[in-house]
């Protein structure tokens, strides 16, 4: 067991890598009654084409990572939710572009619940019958999202930005694509991506690190895992330019939804470089589009944006893009005004005073995030899978300069790299 003290955050992190390759992290919070644990595999919706060392190249149906997540909850004895409930744990899971995360929170029987979590994820049980039954449930989940305009405008933007990379494919797939999923395809994905060496367990809350490690060590030693070969993820070459500049989707809404974003041309960033680019870009977007900016207030007073106007930056080693926008009565005019105003800022750059204030805001937001065990676990895992360290964010923020942010501004805001996604009433 190793430990690392983050003095300024008043936190200590404990770490151990199991013999089978599983990485385990524990962040004790002695004042907390609950424990929150996530068991994550570095496998998400984009990993639909791969080859495991020594194996064959495999292409799998869209939505299978998410389908697999649903099916993991079924055991020969029934639903694993019942086991968690008997031990007072609230369990759940989610699938994103690049990871699948299983989790629980509990205030009692924490060790039993930890064993349940690790065991159910390491014990796949798929039958023709239970795979078929799930298609009805996931079909309804897909329909639910189809009615949600916020989801539609967000996914529309990704579809407009990317033509080849599977990030543009809906995480749940389609009713047609999931209809081709069988227990065999599920097992093939499971065997490729659920090896302990591709997974990370994070436990935060009122727990003793030694006890957690000893429990997981015994648990893992009792299971036999062969050595896992290298996983090769195969991605078709994504062109630098955007797929579509303007994309509309029809759905009844009270006012059009408009999201625009910029696609990064460079990819392949990992570790500290990736963390630095993420933080710089998010700070830059806040200086540009945040609710205290002149631009925001102007557009708000011109009745072109509402409280829903927001911005985000999403990145992985193979793709990175911003997404900015919200409800607007006139998408065309909004985009024209954004181009006009942002072009002026591209000339002038940001001021030192605004930069310092925005950085303070970001530091405050980061520290506030650390109050929540859920956020810590999710963010830590996300950073770790990219080779970064969530608890080293403060020094990165402090090392950023006005020049860094101004440079990022001119690099990211490239009108040729912009797409616009709309949801408008039919």
């Amino acid at each position: 067991m190793e430990s690392k003290i983050y003095e300024r955050l008043q936190e200590t992190l404990y770490y151990e890598k199991m013999d089978n390759g599983l990485q385990v992290y524990v962040l004790p919070k002695p004042a907390f009654k609950k424990a929150y644990a996530t068991f994550a595999t570095k496998y998400g919706s984009v990993d639909n084409h791969f080859r495991v060392e020594g194996g064959e190249e495999t292409q799998v149906p869209d939505g299978i990572a998410h389908f697999l997540e649903h099916k993991m909850f079924e055991e020969p004895e029934g639903d694993i939710f019942a086991t968690f409930a008997s031990n007072g744990a609230s369990a759940n899971a989610f699938t994103s572009f690049d990871q699948t995360v299983y989790l629980f929170s509990a205030t009692e029987n924490i060790e039993t619940n930890l064993s349940t979590l690790v065991d159910f994820v390491q014990r796949p049980y798929f039958t023709d019958e239970n795979v078929d039954k799930e298609k009805g449930i996931i079909g309804q989940e897909i329909n639910m999202y189809a009615d949600n305009p916020d989801w539609r405008v967000y996914f529309g933007l990704i579809e407009a930005l990317y033509s080849k990379h599977p990030v543009h494919i809906d995480i749940a797939g389609t009713v047609e694509s999931i209809s081709t999923i069988t227990k065999e395809t599920l097992y093939s994905c499971y065997n490729a991506f659920y090896h302990p060496s591709n997974m990370l367990l994070f436990v935060v809350g009122g727990v003793e690190p030694e006890r957690v490690f000893s429990l997981i060590r015994d648990n893992q030693n009792a299971k036999s895992y062969g050595k896992q070969g290298q996983i090769e993820r195969i991605f078709e070459q994504e062109p630098a330019e955007v797929a579509e500049k303007w994309k509309e989707c029809k759905l009844a809404v009270s006012m059009p939804k408009c999201l625009f974003g910029f696609k990064e041309k460079t990819s392949g960033l990992t570790g500290t470089d990736a963390v630095r680019r993420d933080l710089t870009t998010k700070l830059m977007l806040d200086l540009l589009f945040g609710s205290s900016t002149e631009l925001y207030q102007k557009l708000y007073n011109e009745d072109l944006i509402s409280d829903s106007f927001s911005h985000e930056f999403n990145s992985s080693p193979q793709y990175a893009f911003s997404a900015v926008g919200g409800d607007t009565k006139d998408p065309g005019k909004l985009i024209a005004r954004i181009k006009e105003e942002v072009s002026a800022i591209l000339e002038s750059g940001f001021t030192a005073k605004d930069f310092e204030r925005a950085r303070k805001k970001k530091i405050g937001g980061y520290l506030r995030m650390l109050n929540s065990p859920e956020n810590i676990a999710h963010e830590f895992t996300r950073y770790q899978f990219r080779g970064g360290d969530l608890f080293e964010v403060l020094p990165v923020y402090e090392s950023l300069t006005l020049e860094d942010v101004n440079e990022r501004l001119r690099e990211h805001i490239d009108w040729e790299q912009m797409s616009v996604s709309l949801v408008v009433s039919p």
């Binding site: 004042a31 009692e108 009745d303 805001k361 530091i363 520290l367």
Partner: protein
């Protein structure tokens, strides 16, 4: 007097509740202001905070106002408007970094109180009323929010079900008010409403963090200019409603998925000794993934992705919600009504009892790990007049038997079935 660790006092006509703790990296501040939910005032009361957040006497321009928050390390600031029983509650929240994590020359807690006190009691007043431009813009903001409810079909269906069920009561009103009243709002009328509200609303101020009741009382006395206003208390506005025939409402919109919502009435409210039994009833019916609704509607019949229930102890209402294929309406209604009958007949297994108790125990135990959750729980006490700690509620839940749940089930009467379905085929 203490309850769940809160120490109580008052200043400037505001009841003050402080929980000193070092468990968090922030000071969590919540100010609640409640007024009776009333058709004649609901819209202006809801519009008021939107105007208050635009500018104050010291920070008249919105940009200044928001920059000030960023200087306080991006202090989280926001407000919510909602219904609790037949009261309209306005809640202001601040979440400010504890100074010990950052290098700040001023006390961030003191600065936050100065800010919040100013927002509440020293708004921007020009010519004896709110700034006209702010009132005009924010009236449109509220209008957009009311119009946007229909965009989220899950939420829309839930609101419509309550509106139909409570057609003759103030509770039918949306907490943001009524569109038809917006045009009547003028800068003068809104300022008048604000002054009356400041004099008459029931104020509760909560702080969780590394501070003391003495320090908070001093800060409130210094920064909240409510003069000699006296503290007020919530009274019970609950009147039991007799349920007759079940009402069925069908509404057609262009949707992919049908939304089935049901509303039930119960005589059991938060202050009732049978409250724990009502919580158990809801938990067994549809509060969790092991509950009857999830197991029977989703897992067994594969009809839905979500199927759950909620219980609102301040209004004495239970709700059920599920998203289904429109042609499965009859099947879903049958299955759900069957679950209601099962509970009324006391067909509840020991396992359902013990699992539900464990889940409620977990929910109540983890309240102490979130500052804002602790605040919400204690605020129930101010609302209902019922002094009951989480520990007491826990032991009441533990002591609940099948016959108590059956007795509670007999008080839950199905009142309204609401179905949002697709347009008829042409």
């Amino acid at each position: 007097m203490t309850n769940n660790g809160f120490q109580h006092g008052s200043a400037a006509g505001i009841r003050i509740h402080v929980l000193p703790t070092k468990a968090f990296k922030t000071f969590a501040i919540s100010l609640y202001a409640g007024v009776p939910l009333d058709e004649n005032t609901v819209t202006e009361t809801a519009t008021m905070p939107f105007v208050l957040r635009r500018g104050t006497a010291s920070y008249p321009e919105t940009i200044q106002f928001r920059e000030r928050l960023e200087e306080l390390y991006g202090a989280g600031f926001g407000f919510d408007i909602y219904k609790r029983g037949d009261y309209q509650i306005l809640q202001f929240r601040m979440d400010t970094i504890n100074d010990s994590f950052v290098q700040s020359k001023d006390s961030l807690l003191a600065e936050s109180f100065a800010f919040l006190g100013e927002v509440l009691t020293r708004p921007l007043v020009e010519d004896g009323h709110f700034r006209t431009a702010y009132v005009n813009t924010e009236r449109e903001t509220v209008r957009k929010k009311l119009e946007a409810i229909v965009n989220d079909k899950i939420r829309y269906a839930a609101e419509r079900c309550i509106e139909e069920m409570c057609a003759g009561e103030p509770y039918r009103l949306h907490p943001l008010g009524q569109r038809k009243d917006l045009d009547k709002i003028t800068p003068e009328s809104l300022y008048g409403t604000y002054q009356k509200w400041l004099d008459n609303a029931i104020f509760d101020l909560y702080v969780v963090g590394d501070t003391t009741p003495e320090e908070v009382e001093k800060l409130v006395a210094a920064h909240f200019g409510r003069g000699n206003a006296s503290t007020a208390e919530y009274g019970s506005r609950f009147t039991p409603v007799q349920v007759g025939e079940v009402r069925t409402v069908e509404e057609r919109l262009n949707v992919n998925q049908g939304k089935l919502n049901m509303g039930l009435r119960t005589s059991i409210t938060y202050s009732d000794d049978k409250y724990a039994a009502a919580l158990m009833y809801n938990g067994i019916l549809g509060g969790y993934p092991h509950s009857k609704l999830f197991v029977n509607v989703r897992e067994k019949a594969s009809l839905a992705y979500y199927a759950s229930s909620r219980y609102d102890g301040h209004k004495g209402i239970g709700t059920i919600q599920s998203g289904i294929e429109t042609q499965n309406y009859d099947k879903a209604v049958d299955i759900i009504r069957k679950q209601l009958d099962e509970l009324r007949n006391g067909n509840i297994t020991d396992l359902e009892m013990s699992q539900t108790k464990a889940m409620i125990r977990n929910l109540l135990s983890e309240i102490q790990d979130s500052a804002f959750e602790m605040i919400s729980f204690d605020f129930n006490r101010q609302l209902s007049g019922k002094n009951r700690t989480t520990a007491e509620l826990l032991s009441q839940v533990d002591g609940t038997g099948v016959s108590d749940v059956k007795a509670a089930a007999e008080t839950f009467q199905l009142d309204t079935i609401y179905f949002l379905t697709g347009q008829k085929e042409e």
